[in-house]
């Protein structure tokens, strides 16, 4: 179903490109003596699993690593990561279908996380794009670097041509929102000083609490992606803070206290693209925001810093979601799923069952930034049960469980962002520090199931 042979003319193009690139590097190196960039060709691995090299159609020619699926990996020896300080990690990727991440780890396959590059379709297996992320903490000098492929779906999801590791300027790059260290230290100190409540016998030992929120309002606004630009976004359905709009900030959320959530001291803003059945918006009957942990040891989990924000899912992903696709909508309730929509992308539910979705957020944080240019690069998902490397801080594992008062039909649905695969969610933290801190301490670090009041 995939793979197009690389046309012959690319060989000619590649030869020319190689000469040009060589000439360029010379020019650049004289101008940028201090900004060292190490480029690693993907096919130059010292060891690998599941990787097949193929001729590449990318600029520069040569080969790319292909047929990469979940769990595949490549090892690169003696990669010079340079001195301490900000490091820009880039990957040259192409993807026709599927999504996932490229994890970089140092030392071993399960070593500390160096960086994570998100992957989503680029338009084809030879349609190349460069994805980059910045990390502020990393091992220095010569390192063994592993590139590990992660995806929740089966099947090949990405080709990789090269990686690069570049010393970046030490000043925070544009688009990153560094944490106010004094405020964070105070929030952490308050949290560390809290005495955990005694867990009664009989409580289910699952690290979890929740906020239970009703639908609040809709606006074509997005204060994370499109701040200051009301009307610029596709339609969003907002939950939690009732004031959320294109101008919301951490401060505005904290001062506008009405919320659609229980407890009332969760002033956070939560939002998802609006769901449409035909031309009619269908608003959720309820969103339960779970704060849990999937880590082997949840005891190191800390609360979200005030003003923290992040996005899960990808609004740009427009791919079919047939029965059995990961992360898809399902039918909750008696009778469950009784069939699919005509396009196969949505479930049809029994009359008593309701359309439902769970969106899971990353659970490890870089500990330095409240936000990043793509609103994702300051967080990462722990696939091996621990937070490490550039994402060392365990944060609660957030997930949105949304149910709709509809059973669906053969006509299916659409999201304001497009197909079912484009489901995404945004979180802008504005909990009362003490209320969030006590819940993380009592429920998550003690592995005890709590209700929305934060009690057992």
């Amino acid at each position: 179903m995939r793979r197009h042979p690389v046309p012959l003319y690319t060989l000619l193009v590649s030869t020319l490109a190689v000469v040009l690139v060589a000439a360029l590097s010379l020019t650049v190196s004289t101008q940028q003596a201090q900004a060292a960039t190490v480029t690693v060709q993907a096919e130059s691995y010292a060891a690998q699993s599941g990787v097949v090299p193929e001729a590449t159609g990318d600029i520069g020619g040569g080969q790319n690593a292909a047929f990469l699926a979940n769990g595949d990996w490549m090892r690169f020896d003696n990669v010079d990561l340079g001195a301490a300080g900000r490091l820009t990690v880039s990957a040259r990727i192409a993807s026709a279908v599927g999504s996932g991440t490229v994890e970089f780890r140092t030392g071993s396959l399960t070593g500390p996380l160096l960086a994570v590059i998100p992957v989503s379709p680029t338009g084809g297996w030879q349609t190349w794009t460069t994805q980059a992320t910045d990390v502020t903490t990393h091992p220095t000098g010569s390192q063994t670097v592993f590139a590990v492929l992660r995806s929740t779906a089966a099947g090949d999801f990405v080709n990789i041509n090269w990686f690069s590791f570049a010393d970046a300027s030490d000043s925070p790059a544009a688009g990153w929102v560094p944490i106010d260290q004094a405020k964070w230290n105070a929030q952490l100190a308050q949290f560390r000083a809290m005495t955990p409540a005694a867990v009664p016998a009989g409580v289910v030992r699952v690290p979890e609490f929740n906020a239970t929120c009703s639908y609040s309002h809709s606006k074509p606004d997005d204060p994370i992606v499109l701040p200051g630009l009301p009307g610029a976004s596709h339609m969003h359905s907002f939950f939690g803070n009732r004031s959320t709009d294109a101008f919301s900030t951490a401060q505005s959320l904290l001062t506008n206290t009405p919320t659609s959530c229980t407890p009332a001291n969760d002033l956070s803003a939560y939002w998802i693209p609006t769901l449409y059945e035909g031309d009619k918006a269908v608003e959720a009957e309820e969103m339960t925001v779970y704060y849990g942990s999937r880590l082997a040891d949840p005891s190191a989990t800390v609360p979200f810093p005030q003003g923290f924000r992040m996005i899960a899912g990808n609004a740009k992903t427009q791919t079919p979601t047939p029965a059995g696709s990961p992360g898809q909508y399902w039918c909750a309730g008696e009778g469950g799923e009784i069939g699919r929509s005509a396009d196969g992308n949505w479930p049809r539910c029994a009359p008593q069952a309701h359309l439902t979705h769970q969106l899971v957020f990353p659970d490890c944080w870089d500990g330095k930034n409240l936000d990043s240019p793509d609103h994702k690069s300051h967080v990462a998902t722990a696939y091996d049960g621990k937070c490490s490397g550039a994402y060392p801080v365990a944060i609660p594992n957030l997930s949105f469980v949304v149910s709709y008062p509809t059973s669906g039909s053969t006509a299916g649905f659409r999201l304001a962002s497009g197909m079912a695969s484009s489901i995404h969610g945004d979180f802008f933290n504005a909990w009362d520090n003490a209320a969030l801190g006590h819940r993380v301490k009592d429920c998550i670090t003690q592995k005890a199931k709590c209700n929305s009041a934060g009690t057992f």
Binding site: S169, A174, G175, L229, M235, S417
Partner: protein
Amino acid sequence: MVVALLAVGCTSQPTAGASPGPAFNATDTAWILLMIPMAERAQLLTDLAPSRTADPDLAELAAKTGSALRGDLRRLRAVLRLSGVPDTRPHEGHTMPGMVSLGTLEKAAATDGQAFDRILTDALRAGFTQFRLLCAEEQTHGRADEATELATAIARSTAEQTTRLDKLRAARPATSGTPSQATAVKGQVRSV
């Protein structure tokens, strides 16, 4: 190809030792990152006009609009580089209000004559309306002069294009919008 490579090679290097750039705020960069793909899609549509429309006035409007969009794109990309924000292309492939959808592009490519004219004029009208809204907000809430001045310039040229489009549409009532297109102009998203 030579030119493209050299351009990419030079501009993608970090600007070590450069003086601090102007103060771009989050609205500035969000506006730039949204305007680029919107202008790109609109340009893909106007590029289809010469081979598909039989109306010389509309062909001329499409050519003028296409040329304006190319100029806007050059300046938007220059301001993005100045801001230092990485081009994460957050809205590529996105369904956004006023953005020419991939479905619309496919339909436009598969048709010609009056049917094409209708798709083109409706999409341009929706796009122009959203451009003017976004530029007005950037002028109010943006911070960097380089970005707010560009918003002023784009708003002005978009207003001119809108006037030209209005004149054409007044002369050819057959291409007037349907209620659902009117809704799309107001900012609701339709996946076509």
